[in-house]
Amino acid sequence: MPVSLTPNAITAIHDGDVNLKPLLQVLEIKMIGRSQERSQERYRFLISDGVSAQHAMVAVQLNDRVKSGQFEKGSIVQLIDYICSDVKGRKLIVVLNMETIVQQSETIGNPTIFGETDTEAQKTFSGTGNIPPPNRVVFNEPMVQHSVNRAPPRGVNIQNQANNTPSFRPSVQPSYQPPASYRNHGPIMKNEAPARVIPIAALNPYQGRWAIKARVTAKGDIRRYNNAKGDGKVFSFDLLDYDGGEIRVTCFNALVDRFYDVTEVGKVYLISKGSLKPAQKNFNHLKNEWEIFLESTSTVELCPDEDGSIPKQQFSFRPISDIENAENNTILDVIGVVTSVNPSVPILRKNGMETHRRILNLKDESGKAVEVTLWGEFCNRDGRQLEEMVDSAFHPVLAIKAGKVSDFSGKSVGTISSTQLFINPDFPEAHKLRTWFDYGGKDTASFSISRDTMPGGVSRNEIRKNVSQIKEEGLGRSDKPDWITVKATISFIKTDSFCYTACPLMIGDKQCNKKVTRSGTNRWLCDRCNQESDECDYRYLLQVQIQDHTGLTWITAFQETGEEIMGCPAKKLYAMKYELEKEEEFAEIVRDRLFHQYMLKLKIKEESYGDEQRVKMTVVKVDKVNYTSESKYMLDLLVR
């Protein structure tokens, strides 16, 4: 198939034409080594329009396609999304998306490298500009852009991205105008043309001139700090652009005064100049690895002519059932119906400051419910509004942008400073939930993932195992101990040594409890306290054999659990056996403790004694079997 390359495409790109979508030929593919700071490899193509050739950096999201051989030397490609930026006075093409038109072709024409060699510029650029691949589903809905990690709701028109290629709309790009055309008039000429508006996703620290057009989706309060360099203040705000790119902007001190009042949540701004630094991931949860730091030359201008093409807010709602498996401290978006709101209560924080806390319950179509903890200002402002609604028997829909997952008791979601709450928001997800709730969802039972008790009194966090599973599943072998519960019967108790002599001295408000030995003066010596005492305490160190229908194992019980199992203090048993020598009575008590069934919570951890590895199982809690809840538990297993 004869294909002709787009004539003069390289020149046109240099002049800033980003809508050309030219056909070009790949003359060379080179992998630029991993840079030191970021282990991200990049590819550089030499692309030709048949007359001129020019190096182009390929955005990292295309790396997989390069590796899989979709583009090769000689391939004729169509550039779909690309930008041409200035790097130290030189032009550099960055390709964001392209398609192969002809896989293999002879070199067309006799291209020469455009302008001078770009080696200098390339050097500075190698291994740079990581453009994070947007990974989301975009709804064709004008104001609010959602990305939802579950099956799309019926009736909502989704432009589904089958793969992770960026969703830059190819045909029209209303928010990016081609730049004013200008030419190089020589090296000393200052470039006075306004910087071209580029997508947030294309920002990288190696561009000198850039501008972005984006909506402020969140704005933080001014925070004052004091460190080695002195006092200072800082605030930041979050931006979202037409393509769904998001980034945080931070400014310090004098810039706070300049920009704090200018920026307003919901408005669209043209922002230009500023340095890009790696995002502080622990504070910044946006899907961008960079963060903009404004400088004195930066400009933030309100766009009066904004047309609503930039979404107000971007959500990626997770169903509540997903939160159950989310890691602690995960930042996520969630939407649900508020079923109850607790009163606001004052809480004393660790640093002595008082704050407020309010807990509410949220449920969604996943059949799960979650506790949401509102902190500080959220308690009064949004919390009160929600409380009044629920008190008047109305259950509002609440969307939470950037809530933090906590695993304190079950899983719950808490607010952080950048969290945003939307009560009865006007978007499809909310309407869908409303309909679900009003037509049945209201009366369906939801399983709370928050409190650690389940109906039937079985602890939600409790992991139920049987005895043989301990060995089969290799419990205790990982870094952390395993905590499990077994329902088992005590079948044997070792009685030759069931307790130890413990130090009764107090260390602070705790008893020492270290093992003491008889000293020469017939008193008890503690190595830890380095003191002697007349009396010693007797504490359980009990070896117990337990069994269930799958097998048997040995466990260790210390003082409290030991007493629970034996039904009397160690001291009493010790006296009976060794001082009063009532062997018969002692044996009777021990026999009496056998063949009772318990719920035993075990801590299982492999420990090494010398070069021997031994799995140590300690009882941390002994409970009588609650037959009602146990029956419920087993019924649940049957019907599942």
Binding site: S631, K632, L638
Partner: protein, 106 residues
């Protein structure tokens, strides 16, 4: 164990399947009359249990006897089951013992 005449676990709804046969049911006592006890089955139906149990009766009773009609049992054995008893679990047991797991019960 005497397996010659097994007693089927029943609630109010299952009683009619066993008319003329031996059943066992747990009831919540509503009132005692002469020669009978009026009670509530675990699925909330009113049942008349004929016979004269030994007082005192606790809130819950297990009765074993012959199902006479779809709401009467002529009881032979009366057992006090105490004042706290989980009727829901028992009701589920009745359903499973007459349904999915019927083969496990004599």
């Amino acid at each position: 164990m005497d397996t010659s005449s097994p007693a089927a676990f029943v609630n109010g709804a299952l009683l009619r399947r066993y008319i003329g046969q031996k059943v066992r049911a747990v009831i919540q006592v509503i009132r005692s009359d002469v020669g009978s006890v009026i009670g509530k089955s675990t699925d909330d139906q009113q049942i008349v249990v004929k016979g004269s149990p030994q007082p005192p009766l606790t809130t819950y009773l297990e009765v074993i006897g012959i199902a006479e009609t779809d709401n009467t049992i002529r009881a032979e054995v009366w057992t006090n089951f105490g004042d706290s008893f989980d009727v829901q679990n028992y009701n589920e047991l009745c359903k499973l013992a007459n349904g999915e797991f019927r083969h496990l019960f004599i």
